[in-house]
């Protein structure tokens, strides 16, 4: 499994309708709403669950190799703790770690055989901080398949990679 997603909490303020029920109902399943005391969800709660869903979507789209869909509803998030959550879909189980600060939220599929590189520091196992990391660094080495799923070209091999970029923050997982 391979998926990651970063939310720049400053840029996400542009989503002026994030705190309306109409907006959140398009994204969250009623079961998810019920896990929280407040409806609509608070700013950080909402964007955290959003980034978990995006992470699970990327991992799942790669597993199933399906054309792009916009189905946030299908990814039912079970929150286990402040950093750990789980999404189960079509017999796949995605364990996701989320890192929340006042500037960004970063989620990724947790596994021993993958590592994350970011332009922000996480100080977690299997993560690497590269302050100068730029999207352009990957651009000419990344190819996408017919459904837009990315791979990194390395030593003439196409290695699965998950890329996320929002506002000031950029990360990839492989």
């Amino acid at each position: 499994m391979l998926g990651n997603d970063v939310v720049d909490l400053k840029l996400a303020k542009q989503q002026i309708r994030w705190n309306t029920k109409a907006f959140q109902q398009k994204v969250l399943h009623p079961k998810e709403m019920n896990q929280y005391n407040s409806s609509p969800l608070s700013y950080n709660d909402f964007w955290k669950i959003w980034s978990i869903k995006e992470t699970a979507y990327k991992a799942h789209q790669r597993n199933k190799n399906h054309r792009p869909k916009f189905n946030p509803f299908d990814f039912l998030v079970e929150i286990n703790s402040s950093t750990s959550s789980k999404v189960i879909l079509d017999n796949y189980e995605y364990n996701i770690i989320s890192f929340v600060t006042d500037k960004y939220i970063y989620s990724y599929t947790a596994s021993n055989d993958v590592y994350s590189v970011q332009n922000f520091d996480l100080n977690l196992k299997n993560t690497f901080y590269n302050e100068g990391l730029k999207r352009q660094y990957l651009n000419n080495r990344v190819i996408k398949n017919e459904y837009g799923i990315p791979f990194l070209l390395e030593n003439n091999k196409a290695v699965p990679i998950s890329i996320t970029h929002h506002g000031s923050y950029f990360a990839y997982l492989r």
Partner: protein, 82 residues
């Protein structure tokens, strides 16, 4: 409602969220909101809400799932407003 009219209205709705202007100017039915127009996925929710308001329709989740390209969106809207 004619397809051409829906297309004009839809273009107005998506314009504020588009990041790739060249792809927007060369838009076809196959144009993807995310990979071609580089619209941030959270803005897809804005587009769905704007479509609901503008055409006075309700988009169900199964329909929303398919609304990732211009052509698919026009078709769904057309079936609803008929």
């Amino acid at each position: 409602m004619k397809k051409e009219d829906i297309t004009i209205e839809l273009k107005q709705i998506i314009e504020p969220y588009v990041q790739n202007q060249v792809a927007f100017e060369n838009m076809t039915a196959e144009t993807s909101f995310i990979s071609d127009l580089e619209i941030n996925s959270a803005h897809l929710v804005d587009i769905i809400l704007d479509v609901e308001d503008k055409f006075d329709i309700r988009i169900e989740n199964e329909e929303m799932e398919q609304m990732t390209t211009v052509g698919a969106s026009i078709e769904i809207i057309q079936n609803k407003v008929s």
